[in-house]
């Protein structure tokens, strides 16, 4: 029974020292849209891409991700279709729609505005 104790670093992400965090609230949609703007992708692929590009800082919970897909699809930003993956497995691939692309632009601009505002605030004191 004792050998069941697991190295915590193995459990979390890819065992890097950097601690992982949940995606910043409200940005998950934007991150999904951004990821899909490059190419259509299946759910796990999107999760992995977000983790890799953020160098493991953001860890996406599958529950949140799948719920977000539902939401974005209902909003008309995504379309989905079942395809074969490169490993020959059937998976649901998500595609960005035209309204989705527009939404991504809006959210990106909004995000940039907020980041610069926060940055200014943080600098103001120092």
């Amino acid at each position: 029974m004792t050998d069941r104790i697991v190295d915590a670093s193995l459990v979390k992400g890819f065992g890097l020292d950097e601690p992982t965090t949940d995606v910043i609230q409200g940005t998950l949609d934007m991150l999904i849209l951004k990821t899909l703007s490059l190419e259509p992708m299946h759910g796990f692929g999107i999760a992995r891409r977000i983790e890799q590009i953020s160098k493991g800082v953001f860890k996406v919970n599958p529950g949140s991700l799948l719920t977000a897909f539902q939401r974005l699809e209902r909003a008309g930003y995504l379309d989905s279709e079942w395809h074969q993956t490169e490993n020959g497995r059937r998976a649901k691939f998500y595609t960005l729609t035209r309204p989705g692309r527009k939404q991504l632009d809006i959210e990106t601009a909004d995000w940039a505005r907020r980041v610069s505002a926060v940055t200014r605030l943080l600098k103001a004191d120092g």
Binding site: V6, L10, V11, F14, G15, H42, G43, F44, A47, R48, N61, P62, G63, L66, T67, Q70, R71, E73, R74, A75, G76, R89, R90, A91, K92, P99
Partner: protein, 879 residues
């Protein structure tokens, strides 16, 4: 686009639930597989990799549930699932469910019944009327401030011509009509109406047409008649070809031009009209009414756009006043100087207020019953959720969220209350049908339409669900809020002293409220008794009466006189008949006729009736001074009057007014007698000045026969009917009623209130007793162990018995204190209906309290006895 997507995708999911679930599972599995692979790629054993992936991703079911929670369609699904589960839970405890539904039905039924009456009497617009919001009822106000219902034709014509605030004004008066078309004739109430009557109402005929303006312009020019749909069906065989044909109306040929809309019965709630004829036919159908001067017309009008009743009232008041000035009308107290304008309804302004007050009291009372029922159900639900703690704890442990659990409980509660509402609605349907059957005097075509409609149904469901939320929510919240793990540990020992306190407070509240209701019912019963025993000033027993509408038979004055005379003589000749007379208005039937008289430069407004000789003998009203009317008082002799004591005093001269002359109906009239004061219109009235005139001098075509006999012979009624038929076989058979039946309407409010509050009070008592019994039984059950130990240690059964009973009696005692206090406050509201029975009538309070104490004793004795008889060994083993 997105709304469409929401809808279509949601529907797709709903339609193919398992398929979309499988898709979702597949996506989640994809995550597992890929995560496992990435661990395996780092050289971890497959079994360990699977375990790590499972830890990292989390439980598949949880993820699936979370994703499925998104989207409206899942709400539909969960509500449906909740409902199914709720139904299953309720079916598992059929007795509990039945009792709860029954209790809610009683409470909801009580409120719904009263609301149904309120809806049809006060809220529902007059059936068959269009845009009733623009209609206004016009009622003259006398100089002395008395609000009347009717005005004269002269006023009507004046206002109709000049008003700018009202586009049109219509008028109508009552008339008794005997209509003979196909088969036997029937006497019904009809309306003499202005030509624009139906147009102002915006009513539509179901057959034929209504009146043309021309048909109400010249007196007697257009003998046309419109009948009600119901009359057409019942008396004209529903034959469409009768339209355009001739029917006999009071013996005169009239052309039937139309049939009114299906539910149209005139504009006076409770008194149905079945035929309409133009006002200009009045000289033929109601020849005695003075069309011009006497006040017999109800008036209503359609307001122009943007006009308020206040603006109309101002304008009409000024018009009425200027007319009176211009025509030089005397400024007596009975003169009109202003006009009241009310929003149009089936109830005239003054009456609406009285009925509104009565119904408000009843509605408040019924609400108390609903509250008692709700509190009871709340207590039952709380007791049950205590026993269900374990089940809920297991479900929480299996991953049901708190909101989900709460929603589940709420679904159950609302389902219970919806079933209760259905029961309540059924209750109301039956109860209103029973109320419509309350006895009313035969000569008034009273027809109350109390049955519930869609609005009542909505109200019923709404109040039930609201009660469900108010009284069902707190037990549910309590269960969900309590620490679930604590509950798992000891499911049996739930609830501490806190719940007990709340439970007890609720029981006291219920008992107190039902005592309040019973006291109110008791007071109404006392008032009814007092009313029945109240001395009206004349003798009711052994008096038979019936009312004749001679005009409606097409009789003129001389023919009527001959008829009334020979009927009187023949009845007087019958054995055991002590006295026979007629009166133009039977006392205690609710109405009155008033007139201004002049004496010594004073104007006094008096009530009057015309009576035949021997009227005072027939009703045994003592003659104090002077003489009764004689046969020699006739149309050619000096006008005479007999006054009551109050009028004698009002005339002055210390009441010594015998032989003095007053001006009555414009003629010098000698006072020949003084009789004792009696009750006239109602039992609660303060005695008005009253004058009797001989029928021979002031003729009235409508007369009520009053026959006093020496014994309670039952053959007298049929014998009188036979005489009437023998005198004229064409006449409808008169309805005979005893004096107390004929006057029963004056006690109708008290009788109705006693029945309703009594019924409500009994329901309340049953509910509260059930609550007390339940609480005591529950408390005994929870103390089984304690009682067992006591008995095992040698406590006497009597000690145990008294211990439990004492607890119940303590609660009851506190409830009585609170209930008596509440009743003391509430009874002030009904003081006006009580005929001087004190709202703090000691006998009622003490009597009801003792009755209450007894019932409460039984309710706590039964569980106590069970506790005392229980086997201590069994009790101890039960844990």
């Amino acid at each position: 686009m997105s709304l469409w997507r929401q809808l279509s995708r949601g529907l797709r999911v709903l339609a193919r639930r398992s398929e979309s679930d499988a898709d979702l599972d597949d996506e989640v599995r994809h995550f597992y597989e890929e995560t496992e692979k990435s661990y395996a790629a780092r050289g971890i054993s497959p079994a360990e990799a699977r375990r790590l992936a499972r830890i990292e991703i989390g439980d598949a079911t949880v993820i699936r549930e979370r994703v499925r929670d998104y989207g409206w369609e899942n709400l539909v699904g969960t509500i449906w699932a909740d409902l199914r589960l709720a139904t299953r839970m309720l079916r598992k405890t059929p007795v509990f469910t039945a009792v709860v539904v029954l209790v809610i039905s009683l409470g909801s039924g009580a409120v719904t019944t009263v609301f149904s009456a309120m809806n049809s009497l006060l809220l529902r617009p007059v059936p068959g009327v269009a845009d009733h919001g623009q209609l206004a009822a016009l009622q003259p106000i006398r100089s002395d401030g008395v609000l009347l219902q009717q005005g004269s034709y002269r006023e009507y014509a004046y206002l109709r011509e000049r008003s700018r605030t009202l586009a049109e004004i219509a008028a109508w008066g009552k008339v008794a009509l005997t209509i003979a078309g196909k088969g036997e004739g029937a006497t019904i109430w009809g309306n003499l109406v202005s030509g624009n009557y139906f147009d102002v109402l915006g009513a539509h005929p179901s057959l034929g047409r209504f009146f043309l303006a021309d048909e109400d312009r010249t007196p007697l020019a257009a003998p046309v008649i419109v009948v009600s749909y119901a009359f057409w069906r019942s008396h004209l065989a529903g034959d469409p070809s009768v339209v355009g044909r001739s029917v006999l109306v009071n013996g005169n040929p009239f052309t039937l031009i139309g049939v009114a809309g299906k539910d149209f019965h005139g504009t006076y709630t409770g008194i149905r009209a079945d035929a309409w004829v133009p006002l200009m036919m009045q000289p033929l159908l109601r020849p005695r009414a003075n069309l011009d001067a006497s006040s017999w017309l109800w008036m209503f009008g359609r307001m122009n756009d943007g006009i308020t009743t206040a603006a109309a009232q101002k304008e009409l008041g000024a018009l009425v006043s200027s007319r009176a000035e211009a025509e030089g009308e005397p400024r007596g107290p009975a003169g009109f100087r202003s006009m009241a304008v009310f929003p149009f309804s089936g109830l005239p302004g003054g009456e609406g207020v009285v009925i509104f007050r009565l119904i408000a009291v009843l509605l408040g009372t019924a609400t108390l019953v609903l509250i008692i029922a709700g509190v009871n159900v709340g207590a039952m639900l709380a007791a049950r959720s205590a026993t269900r703690g374990r089940e809920l704890a297991v479900r929480a442990a299996l991953g049901a969220g708190r909101t989900r659990l709460l929603r589940q409980l709420l679904t159950e509660i609302l389902l219970l209350f919806t079933l209760g509402a259905a029961g309540g609605f059924a209750f109301a349907v039956l109860a209103t049908a029973a109320l419509e059957q309350l006895p009313v005097p035969a000569n008034i075509p009273l027809q109350l339409e109390l049955s519930p409609d869609a609005r009542v149904m909505t109200f019923c469901l709404g109040t039930s669900l609201l009660a469900g939320l108010v009284f069902g929510l707190w037990p549910a919240l309590r269960v969900v809020r309590t620490d679930i793990t604590a509950r798992m540990r000891d499911g049996a020992q739930t609830g501490g002293s806190g719940r007990n306190l709340i439970g007890r407070t609720l029981i006291i509240g219920q008992l107190a409220l039902s005592l309040t209701l019973l006291v109110a019912a008791g007071l109404f019963v006392r008032a009814l008794q007092r009313g029945q025993q109240m001395d009206p000033g004349f003798t009711m027993s052994r008096v038979l009466t019936t009312t004749f509408e001679a005009e409606s038979w097409g009789y003129d004055e001389s023919r009527s006189r001959a008829f009334y005379g020979s009927l009187r003589d023949r009845v007087a000749a019958m054995p055991h008949v002590a006295a026979v007379s007629y009166t133009s208005r039977l006392p205690l039937t609710g109405g009155s006729s008033t007139e201004d008289i002049e004496f010594d430069g004073k104007t006094i407004n008096v009530q009057r009736s015309s009576v035949d000789t021997s009227y005072f003998a027939a009703l045994q009203i003592p003659l104090l001074q002077g003489r009764a009317f004689l046969v020699s008082d006739n149309a050619h002799s000096q006008r005479v009057a007999i006054v009551n004591q109050s009028l004698a005093r009002r005339l002055g001269l210390e009441g010594a007014v015998l032989g003095r002359t007053i001006t009555f109906l414009g003629k010098p009239t000698t006072i020949v007698g003084i009789v004792r004061d009696t009750k006239y219109a109602t039992l609660g009235e303060s005695t008005p000045p009253f004058a009797y005139l001989p029928l021979s001098q002031v003729w009235q075509p409508t007369q009520t026969l009053v026959v006093r006999s020496n014994d309670d012979s039952e053959w007298l009624g049929p014998a009188i009917q036979q005489v009437v038929i023998a005198l004229d076989p064409a006449l409808p058979r008169p309805k005979m009623s005893s004096m107390s039946e004929a006057t029963s309407i004056v006690l109708l409010p008290q009788r109705a209130a006693a029945i309703v509050t009594g019924a409500l009070g009994l329901i309340g008592l049953v509910l509260a007793t059930m609550g007390l019994y339940g609480t005591m039984a529950y408390s005994v059950q929870r103390r089984t162990r304690e009682i067992g130990i006591r008995v095992a240690l040698g406590a006497q059964r009597a000690t145990v018995l008294s211990m439990v009973v004492r607890e119940g009696m303590l609660l009851t005692g506190m409830a009585i204190v609170v209930g008596v206090f509440l009743a003391g406050i509430a009874s002030q509201l009904i003081e006006g209906f009580l005929f001087n029975v004190s709202p703090l009538d000691a006998a009622t309070y003490v009597g009801m309290s003792f009755a209450f104490l007894f019932v409460a004793f039984v309710a706590s004795y039964l569980p106590a006895r069970r506790a005392a008889l229980s086997d201590p060994l069994l009790a101890l083993r039960a844990e």
